[in-house]
Amino acid sequence: MSKDEKSGHTRSHSRRRLLQVAAALPAISVLPRRGYAAAPATAAVNTTGLAVTDDSVTVGILHSITGTMAISETGSVEAEKLAISQINSEGGVLGRQIKIIQEDGASDWPTFAEKAKKLLVNDKCAAVFGCWTSASRKAVLPVFEQYNGMLYYPTFYEGLEQSKNVIYTGQEATQQILAGLDWVNRTKGSKTFYLLGSDYIWPRTSNKIARKHIENHLTGCKVVGEDYFPLGSTQFNSVINKMKLVKPDVIYAIIVGGSNVAFYKQLKAAGVDLSKQTLLTISVTEDEILGIGGENIAGAYACMKYFQSLDNPNNKLFVPAFKKMWGEKSVIGDVTQAAYLGPNLWQLTAEKAGSFDIDKIAAASPGVEFKGAPEGYVRIHENHHLWSRTRVGRARLDGQYDVIYETADLVEPNPFPKGYQ
């Protein structure tokens, strides 16, 4: 094995990158983008009694750090803390340092609602960064609307939602699905699709959109099978045999959690060669590959908006900064990057609005652009989702993706897509 060689290489490589970052840091700190010469008066920026003082502003982080979802949400917490510490070191928001109150949703939806209420009512948080699953978001949504809070939600999700009190920094379903299907149809000439998913709202809604797109918008294409498995299912041999019989051009897989690992291991064990069989997924980020093992999924395509290997100046600063804070071995998936956007977008919005008031933040959000996003440029749409590019990556043996396609323009978020419901 060339494992030693490989790690030696990345070490020296990242040291070089660290040096670059260190060299770039002073330059960043004098950029005029952030920091006010004199902080505006508290009475002016906070008319609704939020936790804002002359030199600090309090925000909440609400993710699961215990329970089944801890596996996924840890990365988001790390990214949000990184973003906040960077903003603080560059002068904070409206001249105020950000203080964090972190609560644990414990993978339990009522707990999420309870903690959200605590963050808004007791702690008067000016913004909350949190939630991961749609179930937790649905649980806290009424709380945020009732007590008028602001939630920055990082996960790609099924759409069909829009709220004054939420900024969705992940993709809604059409942003993640349509461009990927178009790409596979155009470059691989794929005509037949087999849709797979875990059995809950996100995969089902996503596959519904995928099916409509395949049947109505791609000429000569059809869906030859659609199958769902309970969350946590670990046996996929039967469906793999079914696919061997049907021989679809593309396996379209939206399987999540522990099932993911079982599915790809069994796919490989059944002799399905991903260098010949096209497999497109929207649920496997670099985080999931850690558990699946690069050798089991190499060759598969994933449709995301961010990959850790993305080659742009922002990402070249972001990845080393993340690893410096959270360890050399950490990987950054799509959602982790989207979580990083939250605090940054909030900071930019607050400075645009010149206020922390929730109503002014909500009103000022559309049109806010973040040029320093690791995924490239993003902008908030009137519907509180983000304009962003869709990309396709191909899994490598080392658990990273090679980016092989990206849309030429930003894709418009469309949480209530007509003709897809």
Partner: protein, 308 residues
């Protein structure tokens, strides 16, 4: 579904599907044997069974790391070492748990349910603190991954074959232990009448401890084997626990033959239904059928006839 496919294709698929059913059968037997021993022979409802399996999986993970770093030349056979270590680790932890917790509760079977459930939460958090909340990837030697081609169109997963072999070995071992050896007779004697077994000179405490240890050890072996087909994370044990209890209860709690028969029935039913229906639908139908049968026959498929 038969339309438009050649007979050759269909034949191959049927062969592979038959194998898929058998491999699911071995997975189920491997999961359920340890629980059947503990639940059936001792009457203890061990909710932490899944966590004992995951301990085996983590031991396998550690063994693979050790071999990668210190004995790379022997990596191709590390799995057999890992299985043995997994058995020892889970067995030892089982004996410790029996000594510290379970033996206080033999007369209160429902309390063992709560106590072991608490234990499972504790173990999950321990795994999370030690190994991190994320899944770990367990490297397998190349010869264990992939498929072997029986013909051009029939591919048989190698890890399925390994699980089947392991299951056969463990089942024979358990059968000999319980039904052909002196120790097994003592276990069965303690199970039918604890006071009388003690009166004729059987050290019932020792028997209990070893029975629990062996049950947990087998769970560890199962966990070790499942690193080939599933995920290794602090909460992965929860994925298996429902199926495991289903099989043991359906088979009749006190009968090992019943466990095997019920694993066979459920695995074949599910594997065939999954082929023709969706995965979720197949599980729903299987569960409904099992519930229906258990309503008519609450004692399960097989029962021991003993005087109460």
């Amino acid at each position: 579904m038969l339309m438009g496919y050649s007979f050759g294709d269909l034949g191959s698929i049927m062969a592979m599907q038959g194998f898929a059913g058998l491999s699911l059968f071995s997975v189920f037997v491997l999961m359920a044997l340890g629980l059947a021993i503990i639940f059936g022979q001792m009457g203890v409802i061990n909710m932490a069974h899944g966590e004992f399996m995951i301990l085996g999986a983590y031991v396998t993970y550690l063994t693979s790391l050790t071999f990668t770093n210190y004995l790379p030349s022997l990596f191709s056979i590390y799995f057999f070492v890992a299985v043995t270590l997994a058995f020892c680790a889970s067995g030892a932890l089982g004996m410790l748990v029996e000594w510290a917790l379970i033996r206080q509760l033999y007369r209160r079977p429902l309390d063992t349910l709560l106590a072991t459930w608490g234990l499972s939460l504790i173990l999950q958090q321990v795994y999370r603190s030690v190994f991190g909340a994320r899944e770990v990837g367990v490297d397998q030697p190349d010869w264990m991954m992939g498929a072997t081609n029986l013909s051009d169109t029939i591919q048989i997963p190698i890890n399925g074959l390994i699980v089947m072999a392991l299951t056969a070995v463990i089942s024979i071992f358990v059968y000999l232990l319980i039904y052909r050896m002196k120790w097994g007779r003592q276990v069965r004697a303690v199970m039918s009448n604890r006071a009388m077994a003690g009166a004729v000179g059987i050290d019932t405490e020792k028997v209990d401890r070893y029975t629990f240890g062996i049950g947990c050890g087998i769970a560890g072996v199962a966990g070790s084997a499942f690193t080939m087909i599933g995920s290794t994370s602090p909460t992965a044990g929860q994925l298996y626990i429902v199926d495991t209890f289903l099989i043991v209860v359906f088979g009749g709690a006190q009968s090992l033959i019943g466990t095997i028969a019920s694993a066979f029935t459920i695995s074949q039913a599910r594997s065939i239904l999954e082929f023709f229906l969706s995965g979720s639908m197949a599980q729903v139908l299987v569960l409904l059928t099992v519930v229906g049968i258990l309503m008519l026959r609450p004692q399960g498929l097989f029962v021991l006839k003993i005087r109460r």
